[in-house]
């Protein structure tokens, strides 16, 4: 350090370019825009384009052809069946999810991790296999088949099978959203309510429920989207009886395989619309209530 600073002549300091400011922990401008470009093009090609295609194909022959797809009796019964299925499966999983999350998040007991893993299981089972296992239990050659036939109860190739398969594939949605959320919230507030004289049910209703409502709504939304859109599992147990055991996705398949593309895409556009609404509401919830939805990292 031999040279003293006095050697440097004092100059009027020029303003410094502001672009340098962020450069320490990010990439150069060109690399940045290149990567943004790659990401957007990739997403557009693989995700957005298919969605757009649904609507383009649905309206390919105009409004009249589009609307005609829904005047058909089979289409209407498919809508009805899809709504019935979701109306049973979603509340069922809601009640299960809340009960399971209460037991798992608010208490310490042995085998908890195993229980959580088992609840997650349906997510790692192929939809087709999910349908298959119900055929193996309730089908004509299944475990309970002969007995069910004797009782004249039909589950496979009928509505109960469709509902069961849908419950199976959407089983973990509510529970896995609520468990980490309720774990993070702990038990202090409930304990406070109890010391103030509240009953357990009262504490749940007035303390726990308000704390988890956004997470609950979020998970119900995703659960519903999957319930209405499930294809593989339902396809295996439904038997594809037109007007009787066809849900909307199955109806789409039938129309498509009959080369009735406009009708197929018209019905598909209904489901795509549902997906869009789901995405929009989901994103709004995430932007506004991020902390009330999920504990720590976002998961699906």
């Amino acid at each position: 350090m031999s040279s003293a600073s006095a050697v440097v002549p004092p100059i009027k300091s020029p303003p410094i370019q502001s672009d340098r400011a962020a450069s320490v922990v990010t990439e150069g401008r060109i690399v940045r825009w290149l990567l943004i470009g790659v990401a957007i093009v990739f997403l557009a090609l693989f995700l957005v384009l298919p969605l757009v295609t649904v609507f383009v194909q649905a309206f390919a022959k105009g409004w009249a052809a589009y609307l005609a797809a829904f005047t058909e009796a089979d289409a209407r019964s498919a809508v009805r069946l899809t709504l019935i299925t979701a109306a049973i499966a979603v509340p069922f999983n809601l009640v299960f999810g809340v009960a399971a999350a209460w037991a798992i998040a608010k208490f310490e007991f042995r085998g908890k991790n195993l229980l959580v893993t088992l609840i997650d299981l349906p997510f790692s089972v192929s939809p087709v296999v999910s349908g298959l296992i119900y055929v193996l239990v309730f089908g004509a050659q299944g475990l309970l088949g002969p007995w069910l036939i004797a009782q004249d109860v039909q589950i496979i190739f009928a509505i109960p099978g469709i509902v069961l398969a849908t419950i199976f594939v959407t089983f973990p949605f509510v529970a896995r959203q609520l468990i980490p959320l309720m774990q993070e919230q702990g038990t202090a507030e409930e304990e406070a309510a109890l010391t103030l004289g509240a009953s357990g049910w009262h504490a749940f209703r007035t303390v726990t429920l308000p704390n988890i409502r956004w997470g609950l709504l979020y998970s119900v939304l995703l659960c519903n989207a999957r319930a209405m859109g499930e294809f593989g599992a339902v396809s295996v147990v439904s038997g594809h009886i037109r007007g009787l055991t066809n849900t909307l996705p199955l109806h789409v398949e039938i129309l498509y395989n009959e080369y009735n593309f406009v009708a197929a895409f018209a019905v598909a556009s209904l489901l795509a619309g549902l997906a869009l609404v789901t995405l929009v509401v989901k994103s709004l919830l995430e932007w506004r209530y991020a902390d009330d939805i999920a504990a720590g990292a976002r998961r699906h």
Binding site: M1, S2, S5, V8, A21
Partner: protein
Amino acid sequence: MNGATPTTSRRAHGVTNPIGSSTAIRVEGLSKTFDTAAVLHDLSLDVRAGELLALLGPSGSGKTTLLRIIAGLDFPDRGRIIFGGDDATQVPVQERAVGFVFQHYALFKHMSVAENIAYGLNARKRSDRPARAEIRRRVGDLLDLIKLSGFADRYPSQLSGGQRQRIALARALAVEPRVLLLDEPFGALDAQVRKDLRRWLREIHDRTGQTTIFVTHDQDEALELSDRVAVLDKGRLEQVGTPDEVQENPVSATVLKFLGDTIEVEAIAQDGQVSVDGKLTPVVGKRGLTGPVKLYARPWQLQFAESSEAHLHGTVRSSYRTQGRQRIEVDRTEGKTVVVEASDTARLAAGLPVGLRIVGGYVFAE
């Protein structure tokens, strides 16, 4: 460019370079605005080669921003940074040869201690990179220096906070920086570890003679550790000097207040002579200072006195002992409460009327 570290200069604690010794870093007219809030105003500062300089200030005083600008992690709106004789303002952080130690260590969790320390050497271009054996030798030397010789193969998650901070320091020293910059280096540690590390840092500095700047908001830390203290407030440099200088001759009420407990008393100045309650005090202001002023005193610059001798009057509110001293809170008759420090005596009963005499203090021209 002069990148060599003066590793030979060994100095005893407290001996500072004589005025006019070489300047390692000059900060010239630095201004910085974040969004709309100005964090640095036209700040200039010289850092001497081989000194241990503390940047002391409350949070929001701009001290960390100043440190980051010197390192090249932030960029000033105006002003220059001069290293040795070269304008470094436009030099990217990678080429500035600074050693930066972060408050939360910023160790690479997936690398062993040895890999962390060798990181800067391994990151060099092949032509500048020391041979593998040389790197290993240097890592070994640094581990010896920080007294963690057996820890080369551990991972950061297996170390305590104090150990991590020592690794972070060794990592910064490994690249033989022109200046070592430490951002609140002990801020995340508990009290005892903090004290040990302070003393240890001072030892390391005395052994290496490395020019070092560290940021702290803790007066004790700054006064105990540094050769010189630069007191910052609201983005301005209030005062720079040795710990003794800033304590004995603070240039402003801000510096005085920041360095310790302060009592504020309304006073009248008459051509530099300061009196309180009509009685002259030993405090002397600038010649020509006349009119109502504020007199600032340390708790030990007040003494109990007979009513006729006293500048202030009041009653004891409470008293307690701390570290061999007695601290007494006195409610002044005019309403304000002052704290007085006296050598350890018997506890004073609450409500006891007392008189206080000012035996020292400061007035500043506002």
